[in-house]
Amino acid sequence: MVTAYQPRIIGFLCNWCSYAGADLAGTSRISYPGNIRIIRVPCSARVDPLFIVKAFQYGADGVLVAGCHPGDCHYSEGNYHTRRRLALLRSFLDFTGIERERVRLEWVSASEGRRWSQVVTDFTAQVAALGPRVK
């Protein structure tokens, strides 16, 4: 039997918006690919770029960071900082051969269960298309 390649994806979700959004997707029985392993963080700004590099070192094929929409951060401005950091990190990792498409930053609110499902589905397909990171 031939099994399609299943990428391993790590998701860092902010506690206030995106984690609640993912929860809503669950309670609303909206399905999405099970490739993602979710790590809850207090704010998307808690995601030290080091976590992302470490996830790749441990064999992740993609990393998704999700937080509150701009303006909605529980801590006022954490997600603006995340946006800056991740922009630079994606470009930097791409430079070292970890394609920028393997890292994604998304805004998902607590009410966007459906959007969460869409984001995960899209990202999983995108990472799957790149193939395994470690060949």
Partner: protein, 284 residues
């Protein structure tokens, strides 16, 4: 250029304005230069300055935060001082900066006379230190060439697989001596993330996977802070082209945030601020 530095150093020590002048002297090969700490006017004539003076001496200032110190600073070294001032790591009042006009420095190759100019210097447009108390050398009249990153653009043209292969070879070469960190003026953390035991972000194993996380995170911690002084690359005993990583981050720092570190003592580093309606790096 050595004589005016010596004269100034003598004056500063004699008047008691500082108790140490950090500059350069000739190394034991008779060719390259090495850092020199002058405490005594009798030693000022050992001071030199020329194209072999590659070290970024501002790295030493963190050991002398509370002492009156004079320092010989090339433009990139002075940028490092600004960067450290931006981050509240130095007291400007305790510092006397002997700025030197610089037209580029050479690769540090012990015992070799026929060394090339460092790659980064080809595209440097900062020939005069952005901060100094006393300037040595003539300000150049020519318009400097525009800054650019042709080396980075060239590397970006490679395929992801090629880029990955290139860096994986470098990770294999890395012996994790940490000289890159110790030569860097920006790496002043009391305890580096790499030394954290719990969690051990970087294990002690000298192996590609650990070297990858070390090299990438080290460079990224200097994003918006690296002043392009090349100290890390000059120190590396296995010749890893670390400036490729650093210069990539500089290039993007300018492109995404319009920021070049170290040009002013009052600048706000890019990761300490944000704009509400920006989209750094574009969408997707």
């Amino acid at each position: 250029m050595s004589q005016p530095i010596r004269d100034k150093a003598r004056e500063l020590l004699q008047t008691g304005k500082v108790n140490c002048v950090i500059g350069y002297e000739r190394a034991t090969d008779g060719i390259t230069a090495r850092p020199l700490f002058v405490y005594d006017v009798r030693d000022v004539d050992r001071l030199i300055f020329d194209r072999t003076c590659v070290h970024n001496l501002s790295r030493y200032l963190r050991d002398r935060r509370d002492k009156m110190t004079a320092i010989v600073a090339k433009p990139c070294d002075a940028r490092a001082i600004n960067m450290l001032l931006n981050e509240q790591q130095l007291d400007r009042q305790k510092l006397f900066i002997i700025g030197v006009v610089c037209q580029g420095v050479n690769e540090r190759c012990w015992g070799q006379t026929d060394t090339r100019q460092q790659v980064r210097c080809q595209w440097c447009r900062q020939h005069v230190p952005p901060v100094y108390d006393f300037l040595v050398g003539e300000k150049p009249a020519d318009e400097p060439p525009p800054a650019g990153f042709p080396d980075i653009e060239e590397f970006e043209k490679k395929s992801p697989a090629e880029r990955r292969a290139f860096w994986e070879e470098q990770y294999r070469a890395c012996i994790r001596c940490n000289a890159c960190r110790h030569s860097c003026p920006g790496c002043y953390c009391q305890e580096c993330f790499a030394e954290n035991l719990d969690p051990a972000w970087v294990g002690i194993r000298i192996a590609p996977a650990e070297s990858q996380i070390w090299n990438l995170v080290r460079a990224f911690h200097l994003s918006g802070r690296c002043v392009d002084c090349g100290a890390c690359e000059q120190a590396c005993p296995v010749n890893i082209p670390l400036m490729l990583l650093n210069r990539k981050l500089q290039k993007d720092g300018i492109k995404f945030f319009g920021f070049e570190p170290g040009l002013s003592a009052e600048a706000v580093p890019p990761f300490a601020t944000f704009k509400k309606d920006e989209s750094p790096g574009g969408e997707g």
